[in-house]
C-alpha cells in the first residue's frame, strides 16, 4: 500500500467518523450570553466527557423564526434552551411532551406553569427568573440598613424615585431602561393595572391605553430615556451617566463584573401610585421535532437530568448569578446573607409569570411593533393600540 493510499484512507476515516459523530451528536440551540453561556458550555463539556460527542451547542440564533423555518425544511435541533414563552410554538415545531418522570427536580407551581400548556408539560425548567431588577450605583444613594427580608429596599431610594416621577415637571432622569423593549413596557404598564391573563394580555384594555399614554408622556418628558437602547443599561450606566437602570437578571453578572461592590440591586420602583411588577419566565429545555422519541432521546434525557442535578443547579447561582429552577435552592437563597441573592428571590416573588402560549408570541410581535410606531411618532396611542390589536386578530397571527 502506498503512502498516498494510507493518507487518503486516514483522511476518509477522519471525515467519516467526524460526520458520523456529527450526525450522532444532539444539537442544542440556546440564546444565553455571558456567564450563563459559559457555564452551559462547561456543562456540555462535562457531559460529553461521560458521553463523548453526545451533545453540541449552536447559539446566536433568532430562535422563533429559525425554528419555524427549520420546521419547513425538517432540520430542527434536538433541544432548545430558551425562555419559557417560546414554548408557545411547541405545537408548530412538533415538540415532545415531557414524560412524568423525566427529571427529578423540586419545582414550584409557578415554575411548572411556565412550561405547561393546558396542564401538559412541554419543557424542563433549568433557570428561573428573567425578572427585571433595579440596579443602581451605591455610591450615589444612601442606603438604609436592611431589615429582615426587606433588605433590598432602600426607603430613601424609593422615595426619591417616587418624588422624581411624580410629574412631568421633574427634570432629572432618575432611572433608565431600554425604552422600546416590550418586556420593560409591560413592567411599566403593570403599575397601571396591566396584567397577563390566562394565556395572553388584552392589549385592547383601557389599562393598556392608559399605560401607553403615560409611557408616551414619560418619553416626551425625558427625551434621553425615550432614546435609550441597550447602551443605557450597560456602558452608560457603568460610566455613571445613569445612577440607576432597570434591566433583567440576565445582565446581573455583567454588572457585577464592572461595578463590583458598588452595584446595588433593588426591586422595581413605583410609578405614580402603582408599583412596577416585572414579568417572570423560566429558561427551559424543550425538544422540537419529537426529538425525545428519536435516536438521541436518551442523551437528551440524560442531559436534562444532568442539568437539573442540585449541585449543577447551584452552579447557576454561584457562577452566573442566576436563579436556578430548583425550589429548594431558591428557598435557601432567600435566607442567604448575600443581598444580591435576596434581591433576586424577592424580585421573583414580586413578578408575574408570563403565560406560555402561542398568543404570547404573537403579542410580543404586535406589542413590539406597536410600541415602536408609537414612540417614533408614527401612530398615536389609539392608533398604535388598534394596530396591535389588529395584528393579534389578523389571520396571520394564527
Amino acid at each position: 500500500m502506498t503512502t498516498t493510499g494510507i493518507l487518503v484512507g486516514l483522511i476518509l476515516f477522519t471525515v467519516t467518523t467526524s460526520s458520523l459523530q456529527a450526525k450522532d451528536s444532539a444539537v442544542l440551540w440556546h440564546s444565553l450570553n455571558g456567564k450563563p453561556a459559559e457555564l452551559l458550555r462547561q456543562f456540555i463539556f462535562e457531559f460529553n466527557r461521560k458521553h463523548p460527542g453526545a451533545l453540541r451547542e449552536e447559539t446566536g440564533i433568532d430562535l422563533i423564526p429559525a425554528l419555524l423555518t427549520q420546521m419547513e425544511t425538517g432540520t430542527l435541533p434536538d433541544a432548545v434552551l430558551a425562555p419559557s414563552d417560546v414554548i408557545g410554538i411547541v405545537k408548530k415545531v412538533n415538540g415532545s411532551r415531557i414524560p412524568h418522570d423525566f427529571v427529578h427536580q423540586p419545582m414550584s407551581p409557578e415554575v411548572r406553569s411556565t412550561v405547561s400548556i393546558g396542564g401538559i408539560p412541554w419543557g424542563v425548567p433549568i433557570l428561573d427568573g428573567n425578572t427585571l431588577l433595579l440596579m443602581y450605583n451605591r455610591r450615589r444613594f444612601r442606603e438604609e440598613k436592611p431589615q429582615g427580608r426587606d433588605w433590598a429596599i432602600p426607603a430613601r431610594l424609593l422615595q426619591d424615585f417616587a418624588a422624581r416621577f411624580s410629574g412631568p415637571s421633574s427634570r432629572s432622569l432618575p432611572v433608565a431602561w431600554k425604552f422600546d423593549e416590550p418586556y420593560l413596557f409591560l413592567a411599566f404598564a403593570s403599575a397601571y393595572g396591566v396584567r397577563p391573563e390566562s394565556e395572553s394580555i388584552d392589549l385592547a384594555a383601557p389599562a393598556v391605553t392608559r399605560a401607553l399614554e403615560e409611557y408616551q408622556q414619560l418619553g416626551r418628558s425625558f427625551p434621553v430615556l425615550a432614546k435609550c437602547g441597550y447602551d443605557c443599561v450597560a456602558e452608560r450606566f457603568y460610566r455613571g451617566e445613569f445612577s440607576a437602570v432597570i434591566n433583567g437578571d440576565w445582565a446581573l453578572d455583567a454588572a457585577i463584573q464592572v461595578l463590583g461592590p458598588d452595584l446595588g440591586v433593588a426591586p422595581l420602583p413605583i410609578f405614580g401610585t402603582g408599583k412596577m411588577r416585572s414579568l417572570r419566565a423560566t429558561h427551559a429545555l424543550f425538544f422540537p421535532g419529537q426529538s425525545l422519541s428519536g435516536p438521541r432521546g436518551k442523551v437528551l434525557k440524560e442531559f436534562s437530568q444532568f442539568l437539573t442535578l442540585k449541585k449543577n443547579q447551584k452552579r447557576w447561582q454561584d457562577f452566573a448569578h442566576r436563579v436556578p429552577a430548583n425550589t429548594t435552592l431558591q428557598e435557601e437563597m432567600a435566607h442567604h446573607e448575600n443581598p444580591l441573592d435576596q434581591a433576586l428571590i424577592q424580585a421573583l416573588e414580586q413578578s408575574t409569570v408570563i403565560p406560555s402560549s402561542e398568543q404570547m408570541l404573537v403579542l410580543w410581535q404586535a406589542l413590539g411593533k406597536g410600541l415602536h410606531l408609537l414612540l417614533n411618532g408614527t401612530l398615536s396611542v389609539k392608533e398604535s393600540q388598534e394596530y396591535m390589536v389588529s395584528l393579534i386578530q389578523s389571520p396571520s397571527s394564527k
Binding site: T69, E72, L361, V362, T378, S394, S396, S397
Partner: protein
C-alpha cells in the same frame, strides 16, 4: 476755400500711438478668439449634455431594473413569504424592506399585503397608517389573481397613480405622480399568499437623475404621452399606465430624460474672461499711455528747447545754455546748434563790425576838410577860370556820387575805384598844383577785380595828407598794382614828401587802421598789409587782395 487742418501735438501723438499699440493687438487677437471659443464651447456643451442624458438614461434603466430584480427576489424570500402568513416574522420582514429601501433611494415606500390585501407591514413606518388608494389595492388583488391564473409569480405589474393626496403623504413632495409595482408573494401550492407593493417616486427619480449632473445642469424627467410599445423588462420604466384607466395593464409609458443647462453658464466664463481682458486692455492702455506720455516728454523736451533757442535766435539771442540731453542724438543736435549759434553770432558781430567800419569809412570819407578845401578851390577857380571851376564841380560831384555808390556795395571794380581815385587826385592837383605829382600803374587785366570801395582812395588820401601836404616841396604819389599769381594781386601806394611817421591815434592812423581792418575783414591776415618807410625815404603801404573777390550788393546783406 481753405481747409484748416486740425493740428495735434507730438506728445498727444506719442501717447495715442502707445495706447493703441497696447490695446489694438489685444482686441484684434481676442475678438476672433472669443468668437471661436464661444462656438466651440457651444458644441462641446451639446456633446456633454448628450453624454449626460445617455448616462442618466442608463443609470435610470439600471436602477429600475435593479428594483424589479431585487423586489422579485424579495418576494421569493422565505421570511417575506412567512411574514404575510405569520406576524412572528414581522421583524424579519421589516428588516428586508428596510434593506431594500436603503439600497434604492427612489423607492418612496414598500407595503407587504396579505391575501386579503391587508397591510401586514410597511416601510417607512409611517406608511402603516397611510392606506393605499383603492385603485392600488385593486391592482394588488388583480396581480395576485393573475399570478394564480397564470401560475406566474414573477409577474410585475406596474401602474401609475396621480393621486396627489396619496403622493403627498407617501413622498412629501409636490409631484403628484407615483408609479408602483405589485409583485405577488408566492404561498403554498403556487397560490400567492400576499403581495409586495413598491412605490417609486417620480420626485425621487428626478432627484436621482439630477444627482448625476452637476449644477447648473438640470435634468427633467417626463412621461411620454405616446404609449410605449415594448414590454421588455429593460424598458420597464416605460411600462406604466395611469391608474385611472380601466385596466392597469394597458399603454405602458416611457420616461424622457431631458438635460438642460443655462446657456450663460459656459459663456459666463468666456464673458468674464473677455471682461477681464477688456479691463486689462484699458489698464494696459493707461499704463502704456502714461509711458508714452513720459516718452513723449523725454522726446519733446529737447525739441521744445530747440524751439526756444530758435525763437531766441529770432530775437538775436544766440546763447545756448544747455546742450545736454538723455539722448545722444539730441545732445549732438544741441552741440551742432550751439556751434552754429556761435558762428552766426560771430558772423553777425563781424558784419556789424564791417558795417560799422563801412559807415566809419564813409563817415571819414565824408570828412569836411576835403570838401572844404575843394569848395575853396572851386570858389577861387570861379573867379579865375569858370570852366575849370565847372570842371572841378563836376569832378567833385562825380566823386561824391561815387562815394554815395560805394555805400551800396561791399566791393566794386578796381576800375571804378581808380576812376574815383583819379577824380580825387585831379581835385587835389588843383589844390596842390605842382606840389602834387602822381602816377597810376594798374594792369588792364586787373581792372575788373573787385576791391572794397574807397580802399585805395583812402590810402591815397592818407598819402597826400601825411606825405604831400606837410611838405613845402610837395611830393609824388605812386599807385601800383600787379598780379602776383592767379589768385592774388599786390598793391603799393607810396608817397614821397614828408618823412614817414609811425601810426598813432591821430587821423593818419585812423584811415590806415580802417583800411587794415577792412582788409582783415575780407582776408584775415592774408592781406599782408604793411606800412613803413623805404630806403629812399618814401612811405609805402603795401597789401594784397584776392583777384576772385565777389561783389556783394548792399541789399543782399
Amino acid at each position: 476755400m481753405t481747409i484748416r487742418r486740425r493740428q495735434i501735438s507730438f506728445r498727444q501723438t506719442i501717447v495715442i500711438l502707445c495706447a493703441l499699440a497696447a490695446v489694438v493687438p489685444m482686441f484684434v487677437l481676442a475678438i476672433p478668439f472669443v468668437a471661436k471659443l464661444t462656438v466651440s464651447m457651444g458644441e462641446s456643451a451639446d456633446r456633454e449634455l448628450r453624454l449626460v442624458a445617455d448616462s442618466v438614461e442608463r443609470e435610470l434603466q439600471f436602477q429600475l431594473s435593479q428594483i424589479i430584480s431585487q423586489s422579485r427576489s424579495l418576494t421569493q424570500d422565505g421570511d417575506i413569504g412567512r411574514a404575510v402568513r405569520s406576524i412572528l416574522f414581522l421583524n424579519r420582514a421589516d428588516i428586508q424592506l428596510r434593506n431594500l429601501l436603503t439600497q434604492h433611494q427612489v423607492i418612496a415606500g414598500a407595503y407587504l399585503l396579505n391575501i386579503r390585501q391587508e397591510i401586514v407591514t410597511a416601510y417607512p413606518d409611517r406608511l402603516i397608517q397611510i392606506q393605499l388608494p383603492v385603485a392600488l389595492m385593486d391592482t394588488a388583488r388583480n396581480t395576485m389573481k393573475s399570478a394564480e391564473n397564470q401560475k406566474n409569480h414573477s409577474l410585475v405589474v406596474t401602474a401609475l397613480t396621480e393621486d396627489p393626496a396619496f403622493a403627498n403623504q407617501v413622498d412629501s413632495s409636490s409631484v403628484p405622480i407615483l408609479f408602483y409595482m405589485t409583485i405577488p408573494v408566492p404561498g403554498v401550492m403556487d397560490s400567492p399568499a400576499g403581495a409586495l407593493v413598491i412605490v417609486v417616486s417620480m420626485h425621487r427619480l428626478n432627484q436621482l437623475a439630477n444627482g448625476l449632473a452637476h449644477p447648473p445642469t438640470e435634468i427633467d424627467l417626463k412621461l411620454l404621452t405616446v404609449p410605449f410599445q415594448s414590454e421588455s423588462e429593460a424598458n420597464y420604466f416605460g411600462a406604466m399606465a395611469p391608474v385611472k384607466w380601466p385596466s392597469p395593464f394597458e399603454d405602458p409609458r416611457a420616461l424622457v430624460v431631458t438635460v438642460r443647462e443655462p446657456s450663460h453658464y459656459r459663456l459666463a466664463a468666456i464673458k468674464t474672461t473677455a471682461l477681464r481682458w477688456s479691463g486689462l486692455a484699458v489698464l494696459l492702455a493707461m499704463v502704456f499711455g502714461l509711458l508714452g506720455y513720459r516718452l513723449s516728454r523725454s522726446l519733446s523736451a529737447p525739441l521744445a528747447l530747440l524751439t526756444s533757442y530758435a525763437e531766441a535766435f529770432g530775437k538775436k539771442d544766440y546763447s545756448v545754455s544747455d546742450t545736454r540731453s538723455r539722448f545722444s542724438d539730441f545732445s549732438a543736435m544741441f552741440l551742432a546748434f550751439a556751434d552754429m549759434a556761435k558762428r552766426v553770432e560771430q558772423q553777425v558781430a563781424d558784419e556789424r563790425a564791417r558795417v560799422a567800419l563801412e559807415l566809419n569809412v564813409l563817415r571819414n570819407q565824408m570828412s569836411p576838410h576835403f570838401l572844404f578845401n575843394s569848395l575853396n578851390s572851386v570858389a577861387t577857380m570861379i573867379t579865375i577860370d569858370q570852366a575849370e571851376a565847372t570842371s572841378m564841380v563836376t569832378k567833385l560831384s562825380d566823386l561824391y556820387r561815387s562815394i554815395l555808390n560805394a555805400s551800396k556795395s561791399t566791393t566794386w571794380s578796381l576800375q571804378t575805384e581808380m576812376d574815383l581815385v583819379r577824380n580825387y587826385l585831379a581835385l587835389e592837383s588843383i589844390r596842390f598844383a605842382e606840389r602834387l605829382q602822381y602816377s597810376i600803374e594798374i594792369p588792364t587785366e586787373l581792372q575788373n577785380i573787385q576791391v572794397p570801395p574807397l580802399l585805395v582812395q583812402t590810402l591815397v588820401e592818407n598819402a597826400i595828407k601825411h606825405g604831400i601836404a606837410p611838405s613845402r616841396e610837395g611830393g609824388r604819389v605812386w599807385i601800383k598794382a600787379k598780379s602776383t599769381g592767379p589768385d592774388w594781386c599786390h598793391f603799393t601806394i607810396a608817397n614821397s614828401g614828408a618823412p614817414f611817421k609811425p601810426m598813432s591815434s591821430n587821423s593818419q592812423g585812423t584811415g590806415l587802421l580802417n583800411s587794415k581792418l577792412r582788409l582783415d575783414m575780407l582776408y584775415g591776415g592774408d592781406s599782408h598789409f604793411h606800412i613803413g618807410p623805404t630806403e629812399d625815404g618814401t612811405s609805402t603801404v603795401t597789401f594784397r587782395m584776392a583777384r576772385g573777390l565777389h561783389q556783394v550788393q548792399e541789399d543782399e546783406k
